[in-house]
C-alpha cells in the first residue's frame, strides 16, 4: 500500500500525459472538436504553475517590426502534440558541475502544417516541428501539474493559427504569444491578454486573405 501510495500519483500523471499525446495526433477536420475537448479537459484539470517571463512584445508595435523580428509568417494548423522534452535551464546548466541547481523545464513539441505561407515560410502542406516552453510535470508531491510561461497558452491541436515565428537553425519553429492569432471563426483573433498591441488591433477581425495582403505588402 505504501508503495502504491507513493507511485500512484506519478502513474496518474504519466497516464494523463500519454492520453493527452495519444489524443492529439490527428489532423483530421472531423476530429477537431474531439481533439479540442481532450486537450482542454487535460489542461484545465491540471493545476498550472506559471513562470514569469518578459516578452518582447514591443516587436508587435507595428507589422514591419514584427516581421523583421520573426521572419517566418504563415497560416498553419497544429496537427499533433508529439510529446515533450525537457531543457535544463539555470545556473547548473550554464556552468555544469558547479553544484548549483537547474530546472528540468518542459518544452512541448508540436507539429504544424503550413496552410498558407505568407513570408519566409516553407510551401503549403509542409510540416514543421513547433516548440513551446511549458508542459506537463509531476510535481515534488507526486501530483500532476503544468508549467506555463506567464501570458502564454498551449497550442490547441487541430486549431488554425496565424503564426509570426522564428525558425531556428535546427529547423524548429518558435513563436511568442503576441505573434500568434487564432482563426476559429474565419477572422484573426489575438490570444487572451494581447489584444492591446498595435499589430493585434490592426489584424483583429481580418480574414486570411486580408492578413495575407497586409503581410505581403508590408515593407
Amino acid at each position: 500500500l505504501a508503495f502504491l501510495g507513493r507511485f500512484l500519483p506519478i502513474a496518474i500523471a504519466t497516464a494523463a500525459l500519454l492520453a493527452f499525446v495519444a489524443g492529439c495526433g490527428s489532423g483530421d477536420d472531423s476530429a477537431e472538436d474531439a481533439d479540442d475537448r481532450r486537450n482542454s479537459s487535460v489542461t484545465s484539470d491540471v493545476p498550472v504553475n506559471e513562470v514569469p517571463v518578459r516578452w518582447a512584445s514591443a516587436n508587435a508595435r507595428d507589422l514591419s517590426t514584427l516581421l523583421r523580428s520573426t521572419g517566418t509568417v504563415f497560416v498553419g494548423r497544429v496537427t499533433a502534440l508529439n510529446g515533450q522534452r525537457t531543457q535544463q535551464i539555470g545556473r547548473g546548466a550554464v556552468v555544469p558541475g558547479n553544484g548549483g541547481p537547474s530546472a528540468s523545464f518542459p518544452i512541448s513539441e508540436y507539429e504544424i502544417t503550413v496552410v498558407r505561407p505568407l513570408r519566409g515560410a516553407p510551401p503549403e502542406g509542409s510540416t514543421l516541428p513547433l516548440e513551446q516552453p511549458g508542459g506537463l510535470i509531476t510535481r515534488t508531491d507526486g501530483t500532476p501539474g503544468r508549467i506555463a510561461l506567464a501570458g502564454d497558452e498551449p497550442f490547441g491541436v487541430g486549431k488554425t493559427y496565424l503564426i509570426f515565428g522564428s525558425l531556428r537553425e535546427d529547423g524548429v519553429l518558435t513563436t511568442a504569444p503576441f505573434g500568434r492569432f487564432t482563426f476559429d471563426d474565419g477572422a484573426a483573433s489575438p490570444l487572451e491578454g494581447w489584444a492591446h498591441l498595435p499589430v493585434a488591433q490592426h489584424l483583429t477581425g481580418r480574414s486570411i486573405e486580408d492578413v495575407a495582403r497586409e503581410v505581403q505588402d508590408a515593407p
Binding site: 493545476p47 504553475n49 506559471e50 513562470v51 514569469p52 517571463v53 518578459r54 516578452w55 518582447a56 512584445s57 514591443a58 516587436n59 508595435r61 517590426t65 523580428s69 520573426t70 531543457q87 535544463q88 535551464i89 539555470g90 545556473r91 546548466a93 550554464v94 556552468v95 555544469p96 558547479n98 553544484g99 548549483g100 541547481p101 537547474s102 530546472a103 528540468s104 523545464f105 518544452i107 516548440e131 516552453p133 510535470i137 510535481r139 515534488t140 508531491d141 501539474g145 508549467i147 510561461l149 506567464a150 501570458g151 522564428s166 531556428r168 535546427d170 524548429v172 518558435t174 513563436t175 511568442a176 503576441f178 505573434g179 487572451e192 491578454g193 494581447w194 492591446h196 498591441l197 498595435p198
Partner: protein, 502 residues
C-alpha cells in the same frame, strides 16, 4: 543550543529558530493553499517588499545578497540540444559582454540605492548553490520572443515550478535571472532597455510579480493602470518598461516598486514588513504617519496618528483647518507661519533661545538660535501674547530676548515681578505682578521722563490713554497685548505658570 547554518556566499548566519519559523510558515502556506497575496489597494496600503523568503530576519537589519559574476563570457551547449548557449551563442562574446556589463551594474546599483534592508554585493566568494545569479544567454528557451525569465529555487535547490502552488506558494531562497541577448535587438537594442530587463528580472527574484495586469495575468493594462484602476508606474509593468512609442521607456526602479507593490509572490511572513514608505527612518509598522516624512514622530495629542497625518493635531476636537492654533504648541498658526515654523507640527516652533530651547534648532531648520525671519516682529513668535515690536520696546536695554523667549521676567512681558528660579510665584502671572504697578515703586500713571517711569511696565507702548503706564497696561498684563495670550490656551494667563522653563 541549536546549530545555525551558513547562507549565501558571504556566510550569513541563519539561526535555527529562524529555520523553525520558516518551517512553520511553510506549513501554514501549504495548509492555506498558498494563495497569492494580491490586490492590496485601493490606496496602495500594502507596503510590502523585500521580504523574500530567503532573507527573512526577525529584526530589521541589513542583509547582503551576493550576486554571481554575470555569466555571459561562457559558451557551449549546456542543455544538450545541439544549440550553443551563452552570450551571443559564443559568436562575439567580447561585444556581448560590453553590451551587458554596464546595464547589469546599473541595475544592481539602482536596487541598492533603494530604501530597503538588502543589498546586492559582488564578491569572489559566491556560493554556486545559493546567491543570485544573473545570466545572459544567446536566447532564453531558444525563443527570440523572450527577453528574460526568472527562475526561483527553494532552500533544497528545487525549482519552484516543480512544487505545489508553484512560484505563488514556494518558499524561495534564491534564484537566477536569465536574459536573452539576441532578443534585445530592434526596439530592445538599447542599454536602457537591457538595464530595464535586468531590473525587472531581479524584481522577480525579490518577490515581485508583474504589475499592470490582473492577478491571473490574463489581461495586460497600459502603464499606470490595472484591473483595479490607476496605479503608480512600476519596473514590473510590461508597458512601463517597453520602449516608446508603445511603452513608457521606464528603466529605473520607482518608489512604488519598493513600498506599495500590488502584485507579489506569496509570502508566509507577510505580516512583517520593514518597508519605510516615506523614507523618514521609521518602518511603516512603527511609523505614526507612514505617508508623510516625519522623522521626529511628533504626536501632540498622543493618539495613534502623528501630527503630520493628524487632522486634529492638538486633539481639541477642532480640525486643523479651522483651528487657529492647530498643533498645540501654543503659538498661533499665523504667528508660526510668519516666524519661520510649521503650524502643523507640534515639535516645531519659531526659534527660541531660552532654557532647553537654547542651543538647538526649534523650527526644524539646520540653524541654531538664529534671528527670526524678516517681518517676524509684527507677530507673536514665542506665544507669550506680545508681538516682537512690543517686546522690543518693553525689554529695550534690558538684555531680554523678547520675541524668542516667552517665559520669565526677562522674556514674558506680563511677568513683571522678578523672583528667583524655584521661588514663590516665579514665572507666574498673579496678583504680585499686578501689585508691582504700585509697590514697592509706583509705576502706574507715570510717563516717559518721570522718575518712576520704566518701559518694562509700559506693556502697550505708545499708548495715549492718559499717562504712558495706565489701565491699558494693567489689562494687557492679564490678556496680553494681542488680546490672546496663546501660552495659556484655552484659559487666561492670570494664575498660570509659563509652561516652558526659562
Amino acid at each position: 543550543m541549536l546549530p545555525s547554518q551558513t547562507f549565501g556566499g558571504v556566510g550569513i548566519r541563519w539561526p535555527a529558530r529562524l529555520l523553525a519559523l520558516a518551517a512553520i510558515a511553510a506549513a501554514v502556506a501549504i495548509l492555506g493553499g498558498g494563495s497569492p497575496d494580491t490586490e492590496a489597494h485601493p490606496g496602495h496600503p500594502q507596503k510590502k517588499l523585500f521580504l523574500g523568503h530567503w532573507y527573512h530576519t526577525d529584526v530589521p537589519q541589513e542583509v547582503d545578497l551576493t550576486t554571481s559574476t554575470f555569466f555571459f563570457g561562457l559558451s557551449g551547449d549546456y542543455d544538450g540540444d545541439t544549440i550553443v548557449d551563452g552570450c551571443d551563442g559564443g559568436v562575439n562574446q567580447t561585444s556581448c559582454v560590453l553590451k551587458w556589463q554596464n546595464p547589469f551594474q546599473d541595475a544592481i546599483n539602482d536596487w541598492n540605492a533603494q530604501p530597503m534592508d538588502v543589498d546586492f554585493i559582488q564578491t569572489g566568494n559566491q556560493n554556486p548553490a545559493n546567491d543570485i545569479w544573473i545570466i545572459t544567454m544567446d536566447e532564453v528557451f531558444h525563443n527570440p520572443g523572450i527577453l528574460g525569465v526568472a527562475m526561483l529555487y527553494n532552500s533544497s535547490g528545487t525549482w519552484c515550478g516543480d512544487v505545489e502552488g508553484g512560484y505563488d506558494a514556494c518558499i524561495f531562497r534564491y534564484g537566477d535571472a536569465l536574459h536573452g541577448d539576441d532578443s534585445h535587438s530592434g526596439p530592445y537594442g538599447t542599454a536602457p532597455v537591457r538595464r530595464a530587463t535586468v531590473l525587472h528580472e531581479i524584481g522577480h527574484l525579490i518577490n515581485l510579480r508583474h504589475e499592470s495586469v490582473n492577478p491571473p495575468e490574463t489581461q495586460l493594462y497600459p502603464c499606470g493602470l490595472d484591473d483595479t484602476g490607476p496605479i503608480p508606474v512600476s519596473i514590473m509593468s510590461y508597458d512601463c518598461i517597453d520602449p516608446p512609442p508603445g511603452g513608457a521607456g521606464l528603466s529605473t526602479v520607482q518608489d512604488w516598486d519598493t513600498c506599495g507593490v500590488n502584485h507579489k509572490y506569496f509570502d508566509p511572513l507577510t505580516a512583517f514588513s520593514d518597508c519605510d514608505s516615506d523614507v523618514d527612518g521609521h518602518v511603516d509598522q512603527l511609523d505614526n504617519c507612514s505617508t508623510v516624512p516625519n522623522p521626529n514622530q511628533a504626536n501632540f495629542d498622543t493618539d495613534d496618528t502623528g501630527d503630520a497625518c493628524d487632522p486634529d493635531i492638538d486633539g481639541d476636537t477642532i480640525l486643523n483647518a479651522s483651528d487657529p492654533e492647530a498643533d498645540g504648541d501654543r503659538v498661533m498658526n499665523t504667528d508660526e507661519t510668519n516666524c519661520g515654523s510649521n503650524p502643523n507640527d507640534s515639535s516645531q516652533r519659531p526659534e527660541r533661545v531660552d532654557g532647553v530651547f537654547a542651543g538647538v534648532s526649534d523650527d526644524g531648520d539646520p540653524q541654531v538660535d538664529e534671528v527670526l525671519p524678516p517681518g517676524a516682529d509684527d507677530y507673536d513668535c514665542d506665544g507669550d501674547g506680545y508681538i516682537g515690536t512690543t517686546e522690543a520696546a518693553i525689554f529695550f536695554g534690558s538684555g531680554g530676548n523678547g520675541n524668542r523667549d516667552p517665559c520669565g521676567n526677562n522674556g514674558w512681558p506680563a511677568d513683571l515681578f522678578a523672583s528667583t528660579p524655584g521661588g514663590f510665584q516665579y514665572n507666574t502671572l498673579n496678583v504680585q505682578d499686578l501689585g508691582s504697578f504700585l509697590t514697592p515703586v509706583r509705576h502706574f500713571q507715570t510717563s516717559s521722563g518721570e522718575p518712576n517711569f520704566s518701559p518694562r511696565w509700559d506693556l502697550v507702548p505708545g499708548s495715549s490713554f492718559g499717562e504712558h503706564i495706565n489701565v491699558q497696561d494693567l489689562a494687557a498684563m492679564v490678556a496680553g497685548s494681542t488680546g490672546f495670550p496663546a501660552m495659556t490656551l484655552p484659559g487666561r494667563a492670570f494664575g498660570q505658570m509659563c509652561p516652558w522653563a526659562p
